[in-house]
Amino acid sequence: MTPLAKLLEAALFASARPIPTEELAALDPEASKAALAAALDELREHYDVDGHGVELVELGGGWQILTRSEYTEAIERAQLAARPARLSAAALETLALIAYRQPIGRAEIEEIRGVSVGSVLKSLHERGLIDVVGRGEGMGRPLLYGTTPIFLEYFALRHLDELPRADELAVALRAEPKAI
């Protein structure tokens, strides 16, 4: 491996969170953008081609070394690590709406989901998956919610654009009901 790839590997190994590309660049101020990208590619290939138990993943606006999913069971059986709890259906529905319609207020979420979402919003906020991103117009200037970088990390997304666009979904809202 090139010295830069090794340096990146060391930094990524030492960090518990994904490291943003800019921070990786700061590790070696002399390295150009192209050199950095090449080194990241080199490191990823190194893990993929040579057959390693870990892989280099780009997510949440940064890079992170993660264990390969085929070893999850064994690691969990040995109680070396535990998978985080799954999100509830209510939490996922609320997150889906926030991800697609952000900034979005509580009333709009409740209108679409058909249930009250106060406690779900609170727990999503506590888990750092959403945050207040502003205040809406209208009565009481309601709080508007948006997703956070932790949301991207949680779903291993590089950025929000990675989610299918609304018009790519099977149910397109633009479709008008058939004449009856």
């Binding site: 992170q64 999850t72 529905e93 058909g114 299918p164 099977a170 009901p177």
Partner: protein
């Protein structure tokens, strides 16, 4: 209307649902409604409102109080649409506004969201199955070796303390009570301005034995009360006193 015909042929009590579903399985009234539409295999754009409304009411009979409002609101909405459907239509069919349109729009919107939920669920599952370093708990630090002291070391320590302390004049010794509260006040004052202090900061060179003892007892008392932490990195090292984070927060 085929609608009315369908309803007439449908008797809720005679035909129990094909399978029993717990309401908690649904994340809301729209979810339940979509499930019914799927089960009954009806066209979402042409919902037989009467049949679906009857099914809906049947399913929500065992309502939990805290979700009642959301489901009852939907039940009321369905019944209202049903009533509107039953009203005789005027000749101008073109001008007729389908009372189900708003419901269809909401169902489609909800269905679209469910699709996003599926996408998120798959992505989340993929990430869940891979561990980052953070998830691996750090191995507990090996327990510190028990303090091993020989008698001679202990005596040497006593000797050293007493040598540092000024020789008391034995002939005119004034019996002095040990002043623990006073020592505590001194330690507190010091810790109030410094988060961390050393034994030698508390006991000046040449302190008398009663001062040494007062400070020691005061220190132990404060440690017991959790006001400070006392640590000695190795035998005979300078004792380090730190303000306890918990009491600081209090």
């Amino acid at each position: 209307m085929t609608e009315t015909a369908a309803y007439a042929g449908y008797a809720p009590d005679a035909a129990p649902p094909s399978f029993v579903v717990e309401l908690t399985e649904f994340s809301g009234p729209l979810d339940l409604l979509l499930t019914l539409i799927r089960e009954e295999q009806v066209d979402i754009y042409d919902i037989p409102i009467a049949r679906i409304a009857a099914q809906f009411v049947l399913r929500i009979r065992t309502l939990q109080l805290n979700e009642a409002a959301d489901y009852l609101e939907m039940a009321a909405r369905l019944l209202r649409i049903k009533a509107q459907m039953l009203l005789p239509r005027t000749d101008g069919e073109e001008a007729w506004d389908d009372p189900r349109a708003e419901l269809v729009r909401r169902l489609l919107e909800y269905q679209q969201m469910r699709e996003v939920v599926d996408v998120l669920e798959r992505a989340g599952e993929e990430r869940r199955n891979r561990f980052a370093r953070a998830y691996i708990p750090q191995a507990p630090a090996p327990p510190e070796a028990p303090l091993a002291l020989s008698l001679s070391e202990l005596l040497a320590a006593v000797d050293r303390i007493l040598r540092i302390a000024r020789d008391p004049a034995i002939h005119d010794v004034i019996p002095r009570a040990i002043d623990v509260p006073g020592a505590i006040t001194v330690i507190r004052d010091l810790l109030a301005i410094r988060a961390r202090a050393r034994w030698t900061d508390l006991v000046p060179y040449g302190a008398e034995p009663w001062q040494v003892l007062s400070t020691l007892l005061g220190l132990l008392e404060m440690a017991k009360l959790g006001e400070c932490r006392v640590a000695q990195p190795r035998p005979f090292a300078n004792v380090e006193i730190t303000r306890d984070a918990a009491s600081e927060a209090a």
